[in-house]
Symmetry: C2
Subunit: 310 residues, 2 copies
């Protein structure tokens, strides 16, 4: 028996994330069924490029009712792979054409707000929506950056809702596993707290360092001496401003909690630096070094190109 089978998958937003799912299902794994993939986009150029690359079989315009109806007719699964702020308008747009046996999932970096948007847009049909978040990315974006193995050995978080049928959750999990991913379940609040800490906060901190240097009178001199530590620390400051704007706003409650806890740690370190308390600094640095080194060891070999942006 195949690991996963589908007849029609409709992807709203065929960029890096949606395109890599399509390529992963086609080029990897043990997948059968008709395996038709339809891309829906706001821009004709991006779906045309996805068609040209063979990532999708057909495309539909978001603004064309008839095309959208055709695209969604008989779809097994719909994936939303657009910025999280578009979740509600997208769901409102597709709801009138949605069959009751289609399962919808998403790939958004935040989950509490996505669930709220989905409840508002779908009403009772929230049963059909299984929130998800593949923890994979690259610094480059767009369908040209899509890779069939983007999700291999990556985590995909599913935040199953109380209303979801177990079979629907199992089906979305099987889809991601067919691309090589490991599926893990969390509730939306827990998801948002964890990613506020290990992803959203570091992005804000990294953007902030570059901003601070830009604000200083000797910015050019500073940049000219910046070396490897700066390079690694600020790599994520080259990430998409639009995406991270949306993430910060969508996950603001959890992010503010983490930011405040971080500021408290920083204040403690500041006091130790001011007091010249080397022992206190060394204790924190040594603990951090051990934890960071253990994390790297447990994580094992790292695929640098595959997840640089998450």
């Amino acid at each position: 028996m195949a690991a996963f089978s589908f007849n029609k998958l409709v992807i709203f937003g065929v960029g890096l994330i949606g395109g890599s799912l399509a390529r992963g299902l086609r080029e990897h794994g043990d997948v059968d069924g008709a395996r038709q993939v339809i891309g829906v986009g706001r821009s004709a150029a991006s779906t045309a490029r996805a068609l040209e690359l063979g990532v999708i079989d057909a495309s539909a315009s978001l603004t064309d009712d008839a095309a959208l109806r055709d695209a969604l007719d008989g779809a097994d699964i719909v994936l939303l792979a657009a910025p999280v702020a578009q979740t509600q308008p997208l769901l409102e747009r597709l709801a009138p054409f949605l069959s009751s046996d289609t399962i919808i999932t998403d790939a958004g970096s935040t989950k509490s707000d996505v669930v709220a948007a989905a409840r508002a847009a779908l009403g009772e049909r929230i049963v059909q929506f299984v929130p998800g978040h593949p923890i994979a990315g690259r610094e480059s974006s767009g369908v040209d950056a899509a890779l069939p193995d983007l999700y291999v050995d990556r985590n995909v978080v599913l935040c199953a809702l109380p209303e979801n049928a177990p079979g629907s959750v199992a089906r979305i999990a099987a889809m991601w596993r067919a691309t090589g991913a490991t599926v893990r379940e969390m509730d939306p609040a827990q998801h948002d707290r964890v990613f506020a800490s290990v992803s959203h906060l570091p992005h804000v901190l990294s953007f902030a360092l570059v901003e601070q240097i830009l604000n200083s009178s000797d910015a050019a001199l500073k940049f000219s001496f910046a070396a490897g530590g700066f390079r690694d620390f600020t790599r994520i400051a080259a990430s998409s401003p639009e995406m991270w704007r949306d993430v910060c706003v969508a996950n603001r409650a959890a992010l503010l909690d983490e930011l405040d806890a971080y500021t408290a740690v920083l204040a403690r370190l500041r006091a130790a630096i001011e007091a010249g308390d080397g022992a206190a600094l060394e204790a924190v640095f040594a603990r951090s070094r051990i934890a960071r080194t253990e994390w790297q060891t447990q994580r094992g070999a790292v695929n640098v190109t595959n997840d640089a942006s998450k």
Copy 2:
């Protein structure tokens, strides 16, 4: 004419930095003279290893007066490549055996405190001390990590003192250039401000993020979902706790200035997040992304292994 010529170089602390200078002068470049390199260390094991690897020709124990006198007799150049907190005791230890035509330099990450320590230890012989800082490193340390090309295309900052003879500064500059480095001059205060910003502060911020996660009740869960952004942001949190303790204390004035400026930027971003002010966030993120991308472009191809720890 050779780019650089020396008869005897004495290195206090033959680890990554001192060992790479010795290997660079031997294996690279256009260097002549007797080219004898003597290593002085606190631990017999580390100098023995440097001898075994052929990085040095002879060793001397720091605690043996006669050996130290012999080592320094006729030395062209002395390099201090030990943690900055050891600058003053080391200089006090070698001062009685120092010839008036030996030039001393160092490789410390901070410069104002090193200059103060050198003035205290050397008195009028401060004329012989040319403060320096090679901007290169690796995550691994010790003489086994030393590389002949560690300094190729790296900056070496010299903070020449008013008392230095121009010929002495030129000679230290020629030594570093012979290893492939670019030599740049700054005054100590400017040096400390620049590196507080682009190196010392990011290290503190990176250690602080790991510390914050460790302090949280769901640390294990958070670490288990940390991916590429976390990995890059915290790579420098695996750096030496002792070294960074010393740097933070030695450069505390400049570091506190940068930390306070950073905290102010963070407070501004916090307010924008709390207010859901996406436009303000996006403006900062977009500016940072452009600056970070330009920096990477101007910097050109990056040697990842060579400068990961600075």
